[in-house]
């Protein structure tokens, strides 16, 4: 019942927006801008010839790889920066400078270094995802309450145990938030990253549909699919917030 109450209002809004879109296209008699029906038909066409799955799986593979590389890099680095003041003081300014540079600005360098294969978009996604996660992880370590670190120090536990049972569980909620942001940004960048992709990916599909015959129905279908997959990915990350060992942070 409560779930229904949460689902109905956005559903009503989405229906209203689609109706508005449809009415405006019909009223203006636009020849280029597609109606919702044309978008659905276009998407069905791609599903039937199998290219849609290819594009989706290519994009997911690139985002997945770039994001995982970012996680593997950012979490140890963030933990280290959070614990060691010298590392933070040295690295943080550099990352703060790198962070606001749009991944699109890296495209020429990506082509120079990695060519136009899969490595370039993966590199761009990595660049987009790694900095927010580093920053969030280090900030998470900095906000661990001193009383917990004092208690750990008092019991004289080993470094391994300090990380395993205090530092990591204490920052885990921040890590999950960081990973949500990071994956969101990675997915956001996929279209730009795939502008230089060879022949696959949702970003490529959008650019290609525009270039090869003004197929705006496919452009919009691609946009909607990106949005829906982004929502699903975020939902997947949010599942981690339900884990027992992090609930202490969210239940307040």
């Amino acid at each position: 019942m409560i779930k229904l109450k949460k689902i109905i209002p956005p559903l009503v809004l989405i229906t209203a927006l689609i109706t508005l879109w449809w009415t405006v296209v019909v009223q203006t008699g636009s020849v280029i801008f597609p109606t919702p029906l044309q978008v659905v038909m276009g998407a069905l066409e791609l599903i039937e010839d199998g290219t849609l799955w290819e594009h989706i799986s290519s994009s997911l593979m690139r985002v997945g790889t770039g994001f995982l590389l970012a996680v593997i890099t950012a979490i140890p680095l963030g933990l280290w920066m959070g614990r060691v003041d010298g590392a933070y003081a040295t690295l943080n300014p550099v990352f703060q400078i790198m962070r606001p540079i749009s991944p699109i600005a890296w495209i020429p360098l990506a082509i120079l270094w990695f060519g136009v294969g899969n490595a370039s978009p993966i590199f761009l996604i990595f660049i987009a995802a790694v900095f927010p996660l580093i920053v969030q992880t280090a900030a998470g370590v900095h906000t661990i309450e001193p009383r917990y670190l004092n208690a750990a120090e008092n019991f004289g536990v080993s470094r391994y145990k300090l990380y395993r049972q205090v530092v990591i569980p204490a920052v885990l909620p921040d890590l999950i938030v960081g990973m949500r942001i990071s994956l969101g940004v990675a997915w956001l960048v996929v279209v730009a990253a795939e502008m230089i992709a060879l022949r696959s990916g949702l970003g490529y599909m959008i650019m290609d549909s525009r270039n090869a015959g003004n197929r705006y129905d496919l452009v919009i279908a691609g946009m909607i699919i990106i949005g829906v997959i982004g929502l699903l990915l975020d939902g997947l990350m949010r599942l981690m917030e339900g884990h027992k060992s992090v609930r202490w942070r969210y239940d307040r």
């Binding site: 009383r147 917990y148 004092n150 750990a152 008092n154 004289g156 145990k161 885990l172 992090v246 239940d251």
Partner: protein, 247 residues
């Protein structure tokens, strides 16, 4: 009795901006092995700072603190601090918390943890997370976690201040029962004079900031003590008068 902790003429000041404020001003105190010392004083007089120094979390500016004749350099598991705000890890279960300080080589850590959970009346809550416990149970979990490592000294910084009067009395009684079984040296900081005379062998009264020792009262009564005992009440009034409160 042998001397457990010897505090010699310690001073501490904190500086904010250009100003330096003395917090602790020349405290000397010798605490015997197995003794229960309560420290009372006006609020904000530097009690917690004193405790942090004795427990090793804060070095004194001058003077020395020796435990078993060895000068204190940082905290260790021989003396566990039970802080005012509590430090039970919210991401571990009660049992995992109680096992936290135990040595990795120790066998049957879970059994040791469960024994101490039972001792403080948390039997049946071993697998609960701290957020599922009440304030009183959390405090008891923290005390059990400290006891589980068999520390020689317990440093208790207003451990019962967040509890209601009834719960505070119950935990105090439990603490005395546990101390009967396992002898610890205890330093208790409190603002509750009745709590001090209920538990301690000696009550140290601190002066206003910067804190120095104003008086030390002996509490020459055997346990179990009755709070309604006129002699105990008299002593309580004497201590309160020393703190500047007429009853």
């Amino acid at each position: 009795m042998t001397d457990k902790i010897v505090i010699k003429n310690i001073n501490k000041s904190f500086s904010s901006g250009n100003e330096s404020k003395a917090v602790i001003d020349g405290i000397n105190l010798t605490i015997a092995d197995g003794e229960f010392i309560a420290i009372v004083g006006p609020s904000g007089c530097g009690k917690s700072t004193l405790m942090k120094m004795i427990a090793g979390f804060l070095p004194p500016d001058e003077g020395s603190i020796a435990v078993d004749g060895v000068e204190r350099k940082g905290p260790n598991a021989n003396g566990i601090l039970i802080s005012q705000h509590g430090s039970v890890f919210p991401w571990l279960t009660v049992q995992q918390n109680l096992m936290f300080g135990l040595n990795d080589e120790q066998v049957d850590k879970a059994a040791v943890a469960d024994h101490y959970a039972d001792l403080v009346g948390l039997k049946g809550f071993e697998h609960h997370y701290p957020r599922e416990l009440s304030g009183g149970m959390l405090k008891r979990a923290e005390i059990a976690r400290a006891l589980a490592v068999k520390p020689e000294i317990l440093y208790m910084d207003e451990p019962f201040s967040a509890l209601d009067a009834l719960m505070s009395l119950r935990i105090r009684t439990e603490l005395l029962r546990i101390l009967e079984e396992e002898r610890h040296t205890v330093i208790l900081i409190t603002h509750d004079v009745e709590e001090a005379v209920h538990l301690a062998n000696r009550v140290v009264v601190l002066s206003n900031r910067p804190a120095s020792i104003q008086t030390i009262f002996d509490v020459p009564f055997a346990h179990p003590r009755k709070l309604s005992d006129p002699a105990l009440q008299q002593l309580r009034d004497d201590i309160l008068r020393e703190l500047g409160i007429e009853c």
